[in-house]
Symmetry: D2
């Protein structure tokens, strides 16, 4: 690795063993979990902008570790109240670690990103998400919302305890599963042109219904912008122009693809010199769709990357609008699923929509929730479960006019009872409740 653009020197661990190779990845971005991301020795960032300075430069072939805060910068506590979810300040997320520059990366290249390992904060129990625990939240409609916000307009929360690669929750008794641990968000920096495209494109959408609650999109927001090691006018410009981190975009970003797990290889488009890779929003587990918005089991922790380059790879492979990837090969091995179907009909309003997969998946989620309620879970508990457990969401039929058909697969083994339908009917039990607001 070489010096960084900003002079924020990261001392390299020179003390390698007197052996041929050492395999422990160097930590190129360190996080002190007792402090906000803005107060770290080398702060991270929570906007996308080409001018956020790289904190370190690595070489193709390098392996390195990035430490991360949870996406909210630790606004959520390990307790039984959802007030912190209700009151969260959404100008702060996502708190990202990086950017890491890759030597020799040029616009048009593909940055090969291997996810070697990741997990919660190692060897620490504590009060910060990732220190032995994580959380799933349902955001209120007036502050973020979620996929089923019309059905669940208030704030709710579940706390999860980690047991190795498994999780349990006092707010969801009867459930235990192995997480598909992954980063919700990582990507390369946008070029100035690409950034301008994003801001224009999304503002045009917002302008179609500017007062909508929840909002159609989030424009740049200087308040609470954290701009890495940039200072002065550069920092001010980043704060003013920087794209919000919520959506996935051409650079990757908040794709929330649960299959970016250990062993995954991702090919990211490069838009700026050095590529500038940033990452954060680690998830201990997540269901496809991450439907509660803060739907995964959120945590701080670490991620170990290996990087390489395919020169000119965007043109070579026709990769222009999104990364491509090879999923990880160490997912939990579940083989039996209880599955729910939804079609693009709004049954409450008896209205048909045209090949609307979003609605179809929403209906599949609602169908699953109705089913789980028959066993004694509250609707909120079921909603939290669908967001966080390793469920699969599939687009099954997308051409059978007028009804799109989506399906949702819940591994039956995550329950400590037999959740399958039988002639005897479901066994309703007291299954407690999740954290609610005061």
């Amino acid at each position: 690795m070489t010096g960084t653009e900003t002079g924020a020197e990261i001392a390299r661990a020179e003390a390698k063993p007197s052996t041929e190779e050492a395999a422990m990845p160097e930590v190129v971005f360190q996080v002190d979990q007792t402090r906000s991301m803005r107060d770290q020795v080398v702060p991270g960032h929570n906007r996308w902008h080409p001018d956020i300075p790289a904190v370190v430069t690595v070489r193709p072939g390098d392996e390195f570790r990035v430490e991360c805060r949870d996406w909210t910068d630790a606004q959520i506590g390990n307790n039984d109240s959802a007030d912190d979810v209700r009151d969260i300040d959404l100008t702060l997320p996502h708190m990202l670690s990086g950017p890491v520059a890759i030597e020799g990366a040029r616009p048009g290249d593909l940055l090969v990103v291997d996810i070697l390992d990741l997990g919660p904060v190692p060897q620490q129990a504590g009060e910060i998400a990732g220190q032995g625990w994580g959380y799933t939240g349902i955001f209120p409609k007036v502050n973020g919302g979620g996929f089923l916000t019309d059905h669940f307009p208030d704030a709710y929360k579940a706390i999860w305890d980690f047991h190795g690669q498994q999780a349990t929750s006092r707010h969801l008794p009867g459930v235990r599963f192995t997480g598909i641990t992954h980063p919700g968000l990582f990507g390369t920096a946008p070029s100035p042109d690409l950034l301008a495209t994003w801001n224009r494109r999304e503002q045009a959408l917002i302008d179609t219904d500017p007062g909508r609650v929840p909002a159609l999109g989030l424009p740049p927001e200087p308040r609470n912008a954290v701009t890495g090691t940039a200072t002065g006018a550069v920092a001010a410009r980043i704060a003013a122009e920087g794209a919000r981190t919520v959506p996935p975009r051409e650079n990757g970003g908040n794709q929330d693809i649960k299959n970016f797990t250990r062993g995954a290889r991702v090919f990211c488009p490069v838009f700026v010199e050095g590529a500038k890779l940033s990452a954060g929003d680690l998830h201990f587990s997540q269901g496809d769709g991450e439907i509660t918005f803060c739907g995964a089991i959120e945590m701080g922790g670490f991620i170990d990357f290996h990087v390489d380059l395919i020169k000119g790879g965007m043109e070579k492979y026709g990769v222009t609008t999104n990364p491509i990837f090879l999923p990880g090969n160490v997912e939990p091995r579940y083989s039996e699923f209880l599955s729910f179907i939804g079609i693009s009909v709004d049954h409450e309003r008896d209205t048909n929509h045209y090949l609307d997969a979003t609605l179809a998946y929403r209906r599949a989620c609602l169908n699953a929730i109705e089913y789980l309620k028959k066993w004694g879970y509250t609707g909120e508990q079921a909603y939290l479960l669908l967001g966080s457990a390793p469920i699969e969401g599939r687009i099954s039929g997308i051409v059978d006019i007028p009804n799109a058909c989506c399906s949702l697969y819940i591994p039956t083994a995550i329950f400590d009872f037999d959740v399958r339908p039988t002639a005897a009917g479901p066994t309703r039990a007291d299954r407690g409740r999740c954290a609610v607001t005061s």
Copy 2:
């Protein structure tokens, strides 16, 4: 089994062996593949209506076989021209076998349907789809369309040869895969009320843009209606009122869920006395979404069912709008995938859409097609491949405003070359072409 409602007697195979149990399922719906479905001894049907007479009554616990025509009633040939796809008469599909009444089934029950086995026409090679071969078609925009019809407005076709559970195509050299064989369509009969709801609901959608091409939906169409063993006024009413079979609905229907494969158990809502189970549209294989409309590998063949009842199951389990199911456990074991991502941005028009999973999946499909073109496939070949191979389509992120994120997984093992990206770039080869129109 008991006599049928219509007197259309199906002779039971009485010659059971003089042993305790015989396991070969009785054929309760027979098909002579040399004749149209309307000319069978006991004809099937191609509309949904409560008054289509059951052809046989079976008991809970029974196992039985249903033979099927391909969904088009054999309009497509094993040749190198897509003219038959271009000129298809879409008032004919889907040709269904049944209905089979289940003794004791009442509205409000769940009909338990086990898919024991299914496959092409057994022991026959021939000219009819399912006799050793099947097809995938891209429908023209003016006659059906498909998921990418704005990008591929013309008709195309690929013929697949069956090799046990594997398929190859002279129109897609370099590809060989194991099929996830399943019925595209099966379901119970609607009640009169439910049927009326469908027709009203879908007409309201059609009325929003009645001249659209392709159409937003398909209203009842007396022309070419096949009404089973009904005759006279009953047949005329069925033809006039019967719902078209294209979309999935509350009764199941054309769900095109590739995981309804061997070993699957499906819990179908019952809306009429006897449930009246019908099935058809067998697929040798299909990718999630069935994106080319006639996207699976289509065939005639057989399907073996076992049925049972959960009395009052709709209320017991909260199943009101769609079936629920346990997927089959004999899918092909693919473990490495090349994956593509799409977000709800129309890149061609530089326009953002709000959490539109349909668009996101379309973008993932288009990204996959661009990639495959770099290896020498035509766009049409790649499109046909995505519809028919066992690819998975997932809703990855559906809350990250404004961009829904979908992903598409192609098993790498289906290619006879290494399809993964490397620094060397793709190996472009002459990979022929699919069947086109004259």
Copy 3:
């Protein structure tokens, strides 16, 4: 295909459709299940010998079907008595179909054998194994024996009913599983030298304890030899010299590898001109080890092969003593197992054996049987189950002197109760009994 060596003409199905390719494999060996293998129009064989005439010659690249009798030539009935197992004539098995000559195959080549499909006798219920049912037998110690013959010296039987790819047994209530269907036995013909080696090598072993019960091995046995289409002196020589079919050998043979299932590709050494491929002993399912001797679910049926050649492949790939293979990719997807361990200690005699994996696996089997007895199964039922269900048997540790360690994995999903250990203890129930002798 060309004419055969023997003039036993197999009429080719000329009536191919007028289309480019037909995919239904031609039946090159037909079986009338109402007759003994020796009374077929073209009889099969039950000895290995280079001079058994090929019944047909196929070309590299051909696909073809071979029909099979069950291994005993239908000595076992679908009833509740194990007398037929007790009294079986073991000079008859295995009844093989073939040999099929492959044009151009020469000694030193590798014959590439793809298993495209296989299954029971299609579309028939009846009295012959494979016509909707199969069986598992425990042979008595005095007539064949088995892996646990010292613990289970008598004859027992279980009849299995086929439900698509699943099996149940009235003799093993509470169990249902998907079969890993495969041929127990297939292989190429030995050269005269190889045959002589086998006979000499095995006789030397037999001679170390000629009176042992069960025998150490089986020498050539003219009685009941079926020699295909050979006649006269050739038939007499085959009967006198032909190797028995029980063991696996250099040519493949009775390997009983459950992973030779749909999609498998096997590379068989070629020892004679034309390779002369024969097959039989179809299994609907089998556990690793096939421990009851007649341990699989035995049946007649069909197998579809594709063949090709790697010229000089034995030398190229160092394949000298056994086939190599790529297992099939459509095994049932079980993911949770209850596992048992055994080590090379004879606990009954309190004696240690040195790295004896056979003993270790026997102990793992006995441990599993003791466990299953706690739930109400008889030991014989448990033994039959271990032979026939898709259990896995692994060599876990083979170097930790003096104790080899083997392990046995039973899929928990095959039981209709939760078979895992809990604090509550097992639920003992009346689980009937298997077929016994009169």
Copy 4:
């Protein structure tokens, strides 16, 4: 947890967060990797004996961490010489951590042991195995030997670098795989009677050929015995009587079952008050059989356990001679294998053995080695690979007299070239060599 029997106080981490639950497991056995196990503050042990004092007492339901040295107490270095393997002192292994007493455990109970997580030494690169690297060794015939010691009588070694859950080796270029990380050895303490049985039983075997090289078994050996916190006469008695740790036995022990990975649940027989659980011999990866003796990728590290009790479980479930278990559900997802077969024939001596699975598996290993040599690997490299990669070893047929049949499955995806046979033949390349002796 309560005080320990020995007064060796382990300070409990009292500083739990002020939240409802903390999930980071407490470290109940700490290891300073810079020191020998005998010089730790609380030393471990390398013999099995009921009188080795427990170092801590935990309660049923507790989760806790145990840190481990590699099995040799760090005799092997990260270098390119196999001299350390050649000269290893085999009176030292296995260095175990523990024993941990479980409150309330009584003889006859089953100790439920969940393996929550395990891995190399966290967050450290260094010179000790487990600090970013591990090793696989072939022991010389005169000092330990191995499964193929007659074919490979000398010492060899491969060093593996860890990349998250993947491993590569400079001594095995072209190979990269995900480890099935597991403890080679864990178990409960024997009762005095059981210990006496072991020593008598194994001595009787040794006495059949006392001078054999390698030895048939290892009797108690006072030299280099490490006896935990025992001192004086107790320590002397442990050293004199303590069973060696090499074999698996009734208490579990060195079972080397690769499926004891994350998520596994093991039910161990309890023979003494408190059960006294000890563990060590961590493996980053291992092939079935661990055939090179030091066949896994050996390392120090940590293991997180959860424990519980089934009172009287040995009788309830018929568990008398070995643990039973549910394997872990996060194995690497490999789906395509190249498989080799072996039968119980000594081809070199042209001799048949009777149903000898040990020989059959040895032949399968030798066949695999011959195959890999055709690609340019040395035999030693191939042997090291089979011991360490996630290969599966199965007992396929164990009743087909006289030939047992075993099979060995190598995941094809671990090679960076296509290792499958084709008509083109193998691509021989220079693949370096492993570490050899000077």
